[in-house]
Amino acid sequence: MSGKDHFAIATQPIQVQAAVDFAADDAHGAADLFIGTVRNVNLGKAVKGVSYDVFDELTINVFRELAIEARQRWGDKLNIYIEHYKGRLDILGVSILIAVSSPHKDESFKACRFIIEEIKHRAPIWKQEHYLDGDSDWVQGHALCSHGPVSYDDKPIPESHKHCKHY
């Protein structure tokens, strides 16, 4: 039987325990958590908070695609929980929570890493940093393209993708 999924865009504080409870499985001996938080500095500028903007529907679709790809690589038993925050967060606020459980630890470690790296490249989410000096700025990111999955792995660049700006 295939594992289960939970995908959400949160506008209330993200609860870590909810992800741990969701991923728990009698047949799984490992669960891996990734918790993304707002840090107080970026590129030398003191940060006091970050606002996240999200295209909800397409982001959920990307989460769904990533779960499918993760199971293709590390087995269909993975339980996968992905939640991203939308709105403003202060320092240490939880911006993203990923939980993956699996029968053995290797699969959940790798799948969790895969999912967070791919989200940074593929999910339509943007962040605006607010600085202590009163300024704010949208963070530059990775250009999207329509050619499908782009992996963070060190794989050769497909000829058809070489013009894409995210390489």
Binding site: F55, L58, I119, R122, A123, P124, G141, H142, L144
Partner: protein, 92 residues
């Protein structure tokens, strides 16, 4: 050209585009217009809505999408729709 050949396209703006214009941009285009031309129409509309907008690099780095997929330049819009312009992303 009849009114049936015209489509109403609403383009949602996110991230840095929200400071160019705070609401979705409404476009009226011909049926079967290619995405590349829709993007040009969006650029014209943004310039009209906000004469200070001159960041063509922002547009060139962005793609159009619907709720399910990112469009390619040669895709066509066949029906009235709500779509979105997506800047380079930085979630997590």
């Amino acid at each position: 050209m009849t009114s049936n050949d015209k489509l109403n396209i609403s383009v949602q703006l996110f991230g840095a585009f929200r400071r160019v214009h705070p609401r979705p941009v409404e476009l009226c285009i011909e049926r079967n217009t290619k995405i590349k031309a829709v993007k040009s129409a969006l650029e014209s509309a943004l310039r009209e809505l906000n004469p200070a907008f001159d960041d063509t690099e922002l547009l060139s780095k962005s793609v159009l999408a619907n709720n399910q997929k990112i469009y390619q330049d040669d895709d066509v819009i066949e029906e009235s729709a709500s779509i979105a312009i997506l800047l380079p992303v930085c979630g997590g």
